[in-house]
């Protein structure tokens, strides 16, 4: 089956992102395809490489990046939500004249249309949130 995932919460306040990671891992192991993971609301905060949790804690951003690389998973951060919350890639840095960027490996910033497309293209869209 082809799944799309929406992650609506940031990495540590809520369990949603970790639960989504567990779901994605289980789906991939069972032979399913992940069409896209779309990060919305505070979920965009999963996509900053400046995350530095204590060593005995899970590094949620890094886990997403590793999942993306290992299984070629499309991780998309909503641009409107990202702009509000300071998640920046090189394109956004130039466009909005910021002094740096913080997007994590494997993540890309794009529009809300990517979420709608994820719903259209997948057999199931699963929302992880509050």
């Amino acid at each position: 089956m082809k799944f799309s995932i929406q992650v609506s919460e940031g990495p540590y306040n809520h369990e949603a992102s970790v639960t989504a990671i567990n779901f994605v891992k289980a789906a991939v192991e069972a032979g399913h395809e992940i069409f896209r993971v779309f990060f919305y609301h505070d979920g965009v905060n999963n996509g900053t490489r400046y995350t530095t949790p204590p060593q005995d804690d899970i590094n949620i951003q890094k886990t997403w990046s590793e999942l993306a690389e290992a299984h070629n998973i499309d991780l998309v951060v909503c641009v409107a939500a990202a702009q509000r919350r300071g998640i920046v890639d090189e394109g956004e840095q130039q466009r909005n004249k910021k002094d740096g960027n913080n997007i994590a490996p494997g993540f890309r910033i794009s529009g809300l249309g990517q979420l709608i497309e994820a719903g259209i293209e997948a057999d199931r869209l699963v929302v992880f949130g509050d």
Binding site: Y40, G113, I116, L125, G129
Partner: protein, 135 residues
């Protein structure tokens, strides 16, 4: 249109206090460009999103409630309000904005977009959807 999917947006939260209501509306407006069959449901505190006469001046947060009246122009005209959620909050349809759309097939006759449905009817509606987005 034959391959259009049925999209249902479930709005569960109060309009202010968290950003879910406003960012849900942003998805609905963007999604309208994709020619899918769109429905909106308002349940729990989500029914407050459609309250008439919202004024956020004192809280310093953007009042986005006028945007709901534009939904009809985006062909978003299936808006379901859960009856039990309204009643639990002492609200009636008269407390909500009057949302309408113009029916192209009937000489642009103005029709109501809002339907009040029971939770049981809503459950049946959810069951017929292809994509359910929960906010």
């Amino acid at each position: 249109m034959s391959d259009a999917k049925k999209f249902m947006y479930i709005n569960r939260k109060a309009p202010y206090g968290t950003v879910y209501a406003w960012e849900s509306l942003e998805v609905v407006l963007i999604g309208a460009a994709f020619d899918q069959e769109v429905s909106l449901a308002f349940v729990d505190d989500g029914v407050y999103q459609l309250m008439k006469g919202q004024d956020t001046t004192e809280v310093g947060i953007k009042n986005f409630s006028p945007t709901y009246s534009a939904l009809g122009d985006y062909d978003v005209n299936k808006i379901y309000i859960e009856k039990e959620s309204l009643e639990a909050r002492g609200l009636t349809l008269d407390d909500l904005q009057h949302l309408v759309w113009e029916d192209e097939d009937e000489d642009w006759a103005e029709k109501d977009s809002i339907r009040v449905v029971t939770s049981a009817e809503l459950a049946e509606l959810f069951d017929t959807q292809d994509v359910v987005l929960s906010f």
